[in-house]
């Protein structure tokens, strides 16, 4: 399980991106982090695997304190955290297979990596994962030949190949059109469920968060202002997260929760259409 306590990040410019955020992600739950742009969502995700160095607080993954690790140990810890990026961040000029296999770089020697000489079981698994994300027969395409949705599927495959203990997902859909977004989200949550991996996802589309997450946390100005189930996220809570409205806890209105349900059903229909298409 991932346990983040009082995570802080202050940039050299003096901007306080995170002012002490604590979150636990356990079991195989999907936690969505929502919030306006600039709230510190990306900084939070990046501080977990220390792509951005946090200024204070603790990040613990299965009992290992990540913030205290030396760079060698950090590399080992990173193998357990699969990351999926907003701009896919595939190595554009490498083939799909190389991109997927790069998920195993933490396990092979540099010389093997240079020769592209990965263990046969990794290659076999890479093929399976590519089949799973719907990119069978694309292994020799270069990443820059793929569409946005396909690239994000390769990104998912790369993260899955790490056999991570958690998936960190940073705005996976904001470079995609709505339909592709849904397809990618379906795939992501299904794979995570199959492999029993918890997912921490930061996302700005509230409807997607409500549809796919089991738990939602809201971040505003580097502080946690909401935590609850998708049903708890009513207009009041949204106002609090997105407009900073100071409103004491009120029980959710029946009308609003009905609206949310309606959204979810609608989403499910579209999803069905995509599968057929």
């Amino acid at each position: 399980m991932l346990s983040v306590t009082d995570l802080q990040k202050t940039y050299p410019s003096g901007d306080e991106a995170l002012k002490g955020v604590s979150i636990d992600v356990t079991g195989s739950e999907t936690v969505a982090m929502i919030g306006p742009s600039g709230a510190g969502k990306s900084t939070f995700i990046r501080c977990v695997n220390r792509l951005t160095e946090p200024s204070g607080g603790s990040v613990e993954l299965d009992g290992v304190e990540v913030t205290a690790l030396s760079s060698d140990d950090l590399r080992e810890a990173r193998r357990d955290m699969g990351m999926i990026f907003q701009e896919y961040n595939l190595v554009e000029r490498l083939t799909v297979m190389e991109n997927v296999l790069s998920g195993r770089l933490g396990y092979v020697s540099t010389w093997q990596a240079f020769r592209r000489n990965f263990p046969p079981e990794d290659v076999e698994r890479a093929y399976e994962v590519l089949d799973r994300v719907g990119l069978a027969d694309h292994e020799n395409n270069r990443a820059d030949e793929l569409s946005g949705g396909q690239r994000q599927r390769v990104g998912i495959a790369r993260a899955i190949l790490q056999r991570p203990k958690i998936l960190l997902v940073d705005e996976p859909t904001s470079s995609l059109d709505p339909e592709t977004s849904k397809a990618v989200m379906d795939l992501l949550t299904e794979i995570a469920a199959e492999d029993d991996i918890p997912v921490l996802i930061n996302i700005h589309e509230v409807d997607l968060a409500q549809e796919y997450a089991e738990r939602i946390v809201g971040l505003r100005d580097g502080e946690l202002v909401f935590e609850g189930t998708p049903d708890d996220l009513d207009e009041t809570a949204k106002g609090q997260i997105y407009r900073g409205e100071e409103i004491p806890d009120v029980t959710t209105g029946a009308q609003q929760s009905a609206t949310t349900d309606g959204d979810a059903t609608e989403g499910a229909t579209e999803e069905g259409e995509i599968r057929r298409g």
């Binding site: 990173r78 990351m83 190389e98 998920g103 990596a113 790369r158």
Partner: protein, 263 residues
């Protein structure tokens, strides 16, 4: 009497500046011309001299073409080895001279200094220096071409390094790769086209350069050309010129083909 309004394109001040600049240019040109102390009889007789030269050159000596084959091959060797040397040395220099990979300010300045020092000395001067050091021969030529090319290659490779997408490097690092692995998987693929492009382009330039370093004894076809001119074997000169032209066209075609191939 109608009082027409006048129009001038420029204000008096602008006109004054332009006039002064124009005058300055003329003065500089006149002074430069007098300094050159040109013998006008040479100038007036030059058209005849050209015709005479051409008549003596034509037709080219075709039997000579067999003899220049080996210096021509040497010319290509010099260009290839010089370029290879330059590329091998420019990758580290480029890493120093690129703002995002250089370790610190001092190393950045060192990188920039090497780049500019290599570029400000002409290849023929490098050739003279290496002829002094290693004696005449192709080795001096290779080193001259190599050192002259470092600046050019490093500068362009450094620019490519500065333009890489850091996201790709980050993604590979996030899988737990070490820095060497992320260099191989995320940096190299991004700068590979630049390296191949720069080296083939520079090779093309170096083929041209290696045709002339022979004038100071640094090997290649230039040695033959110099000898033929100094011994007034004009028909051989034309043969060599045609051979050089063919070589230059050949290298241009090859380098264009290679650059198209690597995308």
């Amino acid at each position: 009497m109608t009082d027409y309004r006048t129009w001038e394109r420029r204000t008096p001040r602008q006109r004054l500046v332009r006039f002064t600049l124009g005058l300055l240019t003329i003065v500089v040109a006149v002074v430069a011309w007098t300094l050159l102390d040109v013998n006008y009889s040479y100038l007036t007789s030059s058209p005849e001299e050209f015709m005479d030269l051409f008549n003596r050159m034509y037709p080219p000596n075709m039997t000579y073409s067999g003899e220049i084959l080996s210096p021509l091959i040497e010319t290509v060797h010099i260009a290839v080895l010089g370029t290879a040397l330059a590329i091998v040395l420019s990758v580290p220099v480029a890493l120093l001279g690129a703002a995002n990979t250089t370790p610190n300010r001092a190393s950045f300045l060192l990188g920039k200094f090497i780049i500019s020092a290599s570029r400000s000395v002409n290849v023929i001067i490098w050739a003279l220096v290496f002829v002094i050091i290693f004696g005449s021969g192709a080795l001096a030529g290779v080193l001259a071409i190599g050192l002259r090319s470092i600046g050019f290659c490093s500068k362009l490779i450094a620019e490519a390094i500065e333009e890489i997408d850091p996201g790709q490097v980050e993604a590979v690092k996030a899988t737990g790769a070490n820095s060497l692995e992320s260099a191989i998987y995320a940096i190299m693929p991004q700068i590979k086209p630049a390296i191949v492009g720069v080296s083939t382009y520079r090779w093309d330039i170096n083929v041209r350069s290696s045709t002339i370093i022979g004038f100071v004894g640094a090997g290649g076809i230039g040695v033959e050309l110099n000898t033929a001119i100094n011994t007034f074997q004009w028909q051989n000169v034309l043969t060599i010129l045609i051979a050089i032209l063919a070589l230059v066209v050949f290298s241009e075609v090859v380098s264009a083909y290679l650059r198209r191939k690597v995308r």
